[in-house]
Amino acid sequence: MTPVLPGAAIVRRPRGLRSVWLLLALVVVLGLMLASVTIGSREVGWADIWAALNGSADGFDEAAVATRIPRTVLAVLAGAALGMSGAVMQGVTRNPLADPGILGVNVGAALAVVTGIAFFGLNAAGSFIWVAIIGAAVTAAFVYTVGSLGRGGATPLKLALAGAATSAALASVVTAVVLPRNDIASGVLSWQIGGVGGATFVSIQQVVPFLLVGFTISLVSARSLNSLALGDDLAAGLGERVALARGGAALGAVVLAGACTAVTGPIGFVGLVVPHACRLLIGVDHRWLLPFSAVLGAALLTAADVLGRVVARPSEVDVGIITALIGAPFFIYIVRRQKVRAL
């Protein structure tokens, strides 16, 4: 067995240090949230920002800030969901390249929503979420099955290839479904590249319960993920019911990724980058890794969203584009670091 999780040699970190990192990350998220409300394509004075935070929306400046608030909340939620989802997927598949974007789960969710809108007359955002979760689950099961056929089980290469192929395939189908429909055709791009620009408090309210369920399931399975990291045989020897543990954790990850995609569209690479960074800081214990990934994911997505508003003023760059530009080099770095054998 090759060690799959990088940094596995460092088993234990001082508890105090981990708490400090977590606290620091939370402060960073708060700072970024503040930045996200303050910074945008329109320059707004502090007085207007304060007024908007208190619920007023008079005039252009205050209205601009008022739209930034739900957007910021969604970025934080989606980032947390994707970060934790990625960490769980990497644990379940024991694969450093796992990520809801790379494995095609996000595109699967998007396809399910688009199909629902086009053929089954879905229109309530609440029902999108169920459909998206089902789509995400089916895609995840499919990719994992295809990737684990043949010699050596689900190696990183096979999983990544199966995921990339499935994403490409499903993206074509999304286009084919959306294109003939003029009423949703304006959204073709928004179902191919995720963004948080269109956030409203209504859609956030609908998605929050699902995310809470996903967070809970994932956190509950953290201990099982620790045993799974030792390999299936050893985990079974330690009294873990391997299939059940794996299925439960995967369910958590899929609910998070699916629910998130239903509101934002497919956003890739957050779930890949964040857990790797977290492992460097706080080690491989999933009980710490999962919450920390959520916090850092929130930070990354909020930062990416702010960056997207600033880099190309006066227009905006969707956060899905920014995360791909940040995440793909990181993906390449991880691939390069792996030994050829492991691939």
Binding site: L149, A171, S172, A324, A328, P329, I332
Partner: protein, 351 residues
């Protein structure tokens, strides 16, 4: 073997010769058949559409006669479109199978390892953001294609290039480049979906001779170079050391092959967009029909042309709406890609 036992006196040399003739015959008949189907498909594409024109009218238009109605519909609309379909298909088929043969992996086709994405991103950026003209766009697309192939190669170099690492790194690069394409498209002043689809999945809508001509010239110039290298390409499949022992100047030959293949892909992409999965599908399909032995370059070029021609025709008329060709090939090609991954997982990889 059966033959040998029956006759008893057939030498090994004769057996080999027999099987070689048989394969050459099969190859020739497959190539002939493919050309025949393409010609028939081409003519049918020209005849059938919103209005039907009899073969006589179509042939008249092709030979420059003035046929009322048909001269515009067939000559201006359908003829450039069908021609570009065939030309782009030939380019994608050739470029794709070259990379697959050279890297000895069917998944290492230019549309999966990011070369098409590079050309497409450059073209979209050049048109939308820099508002350049046709020639500049093509030049930029080719430069980007070459740069991306170099980048993927350099990044996957770590004491030798492992095929798997190259593919994964290519996937990463492709993800980045696709997001650049998407960004360029969101910047487009008037949001034109049909035009956008060209750079996302590939489309032949609104093709004129201005787009088909550069691809034609590229094909005339580059394809013979590539086909001329097919023997060297086949030998490098045996491994670099064996190939150089057999008299191939490996590095020189590889450089020529890469530059010409990327050139073909980039010219076709600049004209029709990165038509999904054609470069990837042509080689394996050709290899199934032609069978083992012999170069796959010409058969897979023909398969590519046929794929694009048929997919574009289906996209236009087979469904309620007009789909761009890339959507059709994408939906069709995806199951085959997944099948190939499953099969490769079971049996190890080869074309």
């Amino acid at each position: 073997m059966k033959l040998e036992r029956a006759v008893g006196v057939v030498t090994t040399a004769q057996t080999i010769r027999n099987s070689r003739t048989r394969r050459a015959l099969r190859r020739r008949s497959v190539v002939g058949l493919l050309v025949g189907i393409i010609v028939v498909g081409f003519i049918v594409t020209l005849m059938v559409g919103q209005t039907f024109y009899p073969p006589a009218d179509v042939i008249g238009v092709i030979f420059g006669q003035d046929v009322p109605g048909a001269t515009f519909t067939v000559g201006r609309l359908r003829l450039p479109r069908a021609s570009l379909a065939i030309l782009a298909g030939l380019c994608f088929g050739l470029g794709g199978v070259t990379f697959q043969t050279m890297l000895r992996n069917p998944l290492a086709s230019p549309d999966i390892i990011g070369i098409s994405s590079g050309a497409s991103a450059a073209a979209a950026f050049a048109i939308v953001t820099l508002s350049l003209g046709d020639t500049a766009v093509t030049v930029l697309a080719i430069t980007a294609g070459l740069a991306v192939s170099l980048l993927v190669y350099v990044l996957s170099f770590k004491g030798g290039v492992a095929g798997t690492r190259l593919i994964l790194i290519g996937i990463g690069i492709a993800a980045m480049l696709d997001s650049i394409t998407a960004y360029s498209l969101t910047q487009a002043a008037e949001w034109d979906l049909q035009n956008a689809m060209r750079w996302l999945t590939g489309s032949l809508n609104g093709t004129s001779w201005n787009q088909a001509l550069p691809v034609f010239i590229a094909l005339i110039v580059l394809a013979p170079v590539l086909v001329g290298q097919s023997r060297n390409l086949a030998m490098t499949q045996l491994g670099d050391d064996t190939a150089s022992a057999l008299g191939v100047r490996v590095e020189r030959s590889r450089l020529i092959v890469i530059v010409t293949a990327v050139g073909l892909i980039a010219f076709a992409t600049a004209a029709a967009g990165p038509i999904a999965f054609v470069a990837f599908l042509s080689g394996p399909i050709a290899s199934r029909i032609v069978g083992p032995g012999g170069s796959l370059l010409v058969p897979s070029a023909l398969v590519g042309a046929l794929l694009v021609l048929v997919a574009d025709f289906c996209g236009q008329y087979a469904f309620g709406t007009r789909f761009p060709v890339g959507v059709v090939t994408g939906v069709l090609g995806a199951p085959y890609l997944i099948y190939l991954i499953i099969r490769t997982n079971r049996a190890g990889s080869s074309l």
